[in-house]
Assembly symmetry: C2
Homo-oligomer: 122 residues x 2
């Protein structure tokens, strides 16, 4: 059965959250299109292409133990916005990512909205 | 004291959530730049210019009682992403909006991510 594009996109984002929680840089990179881009945080450097994306995730994943919890996954118009919380070292960061996709539901761009104001103590 | 752009943007979005909860179409429209645009939901028609934005909000605000609750407000790079819940008639809709702003922290674009999958029963 062929899934709708929205269903494929939702599966990609669910895999993204799962792999982020496992700290799997390689798994996350595999969700990207070859020409994918990452802007994290929004307003910062845009990492262009799969090797730049790989370098970003290899340096971005925290050491030690952490958790990633999905709060809302919103798919619309072939794009997605996702709110999740990253919990690490007794602190929590609220993150909202916006992603676009190609026809294979691979990520073509990810822009991550967060700032120091989005950290809270547990 | 001059506030940073990020603080002005946060105030605009906080006012947006407050006015949405009050059902004030005029108040919401007053937060927009004259050339502001609304795409709600993402993938749908783009309402361009303040009068089109006004018509959108006048028809979009639900009748009866409802509530709007802010879950996360993320400002980065002169943009904002906000996760809120709209509760109406015993049902709840999770919405993630992404907004851009001019130098006066007026909204220049609002794109709203939600689909029927984001409704839940209370």
């Amino acid at each position: 059965m062929r899934m709708s594009n929205a269903e494929n996109i939702a599966r990609t984002v669910e895999a993204y959250i799962d792999l982020a929680g496992k700290g799997s840089a390689d798994g996350l990179v595999a969700l990207y299109a070859d020409n994918g881009t990452v802007e994290d945080p929004v307003g910062g450097e845009v990492h262009r292409g799969i090797e730049a994306v790989r370098s970003f995730y290899q340096s971005a994943i925290p050491g030690g133990s952490f958790a990633v919890d999905l709060l809302s996954l919103n798919v619309a118009g072939g794009e997605a916005a996702v709110h999740f919380q990253l919990t690490v070292d007794g602190r929590r960061l609220d993150v909202i990512d916006v992603m676009t996709f190609n026809d294979d539901a691979k990520i073509t761009s990810m822009r991550s909205y967060h700032s120091p104001a989005n950290w809270s103590q547990l």
